[in-house]
């Protein structure tokens, strides 16, 4: 124990003399937060729409009014056939066409199910899915209104058939802001950067300058060396998480809805994997530069792309979706977004937490084994 503390103390003394370290730990969280929070803004504020109303009834006008009064849609064109609608979408003048069938009013009055059509220009997937989200949200709201009205008029109970999924989504990101989705993810990203890259660099640095060999000749056991080397970075990781959470609240007014305790516990579970991967990278690299490259290109980028941080996993090809099951960050993204945005906790997230814990222990164990072998 004393040996481990001695190593930890030494690491912190070295941090103190390394201004780069401060930059990475204090400044980079804020920069990333601002960059990803403001610049990576995929928000869709106004959806330009073409309307093809075949019905032209009071009911159809009611529905269209609901769309317009939501503030998200601007009805730029009214057309009378599919050809004109198609032309609008193709030229990019509008990105969605709303088609109301000619029996819409009749069916509504007869209390029959009716479908309206929303045709999207799918070339910009992100905008499309956001716009689709808006359409869904409005339709759900509107149909609920009709249900309630009918209920009130007839006194009958009608079973709601709303797609629940869509409803919840609107619930925790009411303005459908990408920022709210991205910012909590930064916690996962930063923790990875600090624990993965800095750890591997710190270990390889000792290899490079030769102090590692000196340490091997001392009675320090390899587990003590590993713990002594990893704990300081775990601590730094947590410091930067606190900074990000603080900045997130102050700058973007996003509050943690769930429990801080669970957030920190799951962060700890998550960094078992990233520390383990950092240690692994250090065993396969000879120089700091090599370690940096390997950490970024072999570990970090795949993690970022396959975790659902940037691209939704549902939109990936099946085979890639399968690969995402071995990405620790994927589980952490689910957990961290769950805690921060939805306010859910252990009851809902324990499975992801458990998978993450198992993964972390396996990765850390194997890396430590490899590290100890390499020392001999």
């Amino acid at each position: 124990m004393e040996t481990i503390l001695n190593i930890i103390k030494k690491e912190f003394l070295q941090f103190r003399r390394d201004p780069k370290m401060f930059g990475i730990i204090l400044v980079s969280p804020i920069i990333q937060l601002i960059f990803l929070g403001y610049a990576a803004n995929f928000d869709v504020n106004i959806v330009h729409t073409t309307v093809y109303d075949m019905d032209r009834s009071e009911e159809s006008r009611n529905l269209l009014n609901t769309f317009e009064s939501s503030g998200y849609f601007s009805f730029d064109n009214y057309v009378n056939n599919y050809e004109d609608l198609q032309e609008d979408l193709e030229t990019g003048e509008t990105i969605v066409g709303i088609v109301i069938p000619n029996d819409y009013g009749d069916k509504i009055n007869k209390r029959q199910p009716v479908k309206i059509q929303a045709i999207f220009d799918g070339s910009d997937g992100n905008t499309t899915s956001v716009a689709a989200g808006y359409v869904n949200a409005i339709i759900i709201e509107y149909s609920q209104k009709i249900f309630l009205e009918v209920q009130r008029k007839t006194g009958k109970k009608i079973l709601s058939v709303n797609p629940l999924e869509a409803e919840t989504r609107v619930w925790y990101n009411p303005e459908l802001k990408t920022r709210n989705f991205m910012v909590p993810g930064i916690v996962g990203l930063l923790l990875m950067m600090i624990t993965l890259i800095l750890t591997s660099l710190a270990v390889v640095k000792e290899k490079e300058i030769g102090t590692l060999e000196q340490l091997i000749v001392t009675p320090i056991k390899s587990y003590q060396l590993i713990i002594g080397k990893l704990v300081p970075f775990a601590i730094l990781g947590f410091v930067s998480v606190v900074i990000v959470l603080g900045a997130m609240t102050i700058i973007f007014n996003i509050h943690v809805r769930g429990s801080y305790f669970f957030l920190f516990v799951s962060s700890f579970i998550y960094i078992l994997s990233t520390l383990g991967l950092g240690l692994f990278v250090s065993t396969i690299s000879k120089t700091q530069q090599q370690a940096m490259m390997l950490a970024i290109f072999i570990v970090m980028l795949p993690m970022v792309y396959l975790s659902g941080f940037v691209f939704p996993i549902e939109n990936m090809p099946k085979i890639i979706q399968i690969i995402t099951y071995i990405i620790p960050l994927k589980y952490f993204m689910i957990i961290i977004r769950g805690i921060i945005l939805k306010g859910i906790g252990f009851a809902e997230l324990w499975q992801d937490g458990l998978i993450l814990l198992l993964m972390g222990m396996i990765i850390l164990y194997l890396s430590s084994l490899r590290f100890s072998k390499r020392l001999e």
């Binding site: 040996t3 030494k10 003394l13 300058i209 030769g210 091997i216 000749v217 001392t218 001999e376």
Partner: protein, 310 residues
Amino acid sequence: MYSIEVNNLTKKFGKFISVNNISFKVKEGEIFGFLGANGAGKSTTIRMLCGILAPTSGDAIVGGYSVLKHPDEVKLNIGYMSQRFSLYNDLTVEENINFFAGVYGLKGKLLDDRKKWVLKIANLNNKENLLTGSLPGGIKQRLALGTAVIHKPKIVFLDEPTSGVDPISRRGFWELINDLSESGTTVFVTTHYLEEAEFCNNIILIDAGKLIAEGNPKDLKTNYLLNDIIEVECDNAVKAMELLEKENFVEETSIFGNNLHLIVNNFYKDKTQIKLLLSDKNNIRVNRVDKIVPTLEDVFIHLLDNKTND
């Protein structure tokens, strides 16, 4: 009593044999010199003796423990100063000392005493807050030696401790080594500098992983080199060497600074043979021709030359 007993130690890296079946013994408290050219296998041997590298075959008993079976016990009894500077440049002198003392569990009064001692031998009294990276080379090496033996090990391994250090600092460093040995520590030291070998109680010489000579400096000079050595001081030593090499009384030639050393055989009678050849026939001025006691360098060059001739 022996501090170190090496038995048929071998290390292979793939097909390449870095250390080839060497055996030797090191007495307690002596200064043991381990000599060899670049790549001869010195560091590899030291690494095996310190428990850093596992031997491919053979074994060594260091401080009473087998490096193969009990590397952890071996580590408690030794100090090691690697060929590369192995303190933290970004820590202060005191932080380095504290760290390595902590590794060996030194505390309280013992820690204070040892810290003082290290600062004293490194000439760093009242400079314990300097950054280690800012120290001059000679001081760094003294500090590294001090921290390597901070726990008073029975045996200390020094891998080329004086390489890249100026001659005056090197002298001072060897005085430290002497002090350590006098206080009972066994010092196992490798070096490039053959003149430093003279300071050792016993020496082994290895070449390409093989042991080629061993003994104390005096025995080495008499046992391995039976011929006489003639030192010639003259102008244009290179030209003179070319001329002398062709003579039947000369076995080997080598240049030492401005002088020429000749290993001669029975055809050599006296210095007139040399003067005749150089000054009379070839106009090279000869200042001095003397028969000398061979230096270790003569012996080693002779041994290494013979090996390459085989």
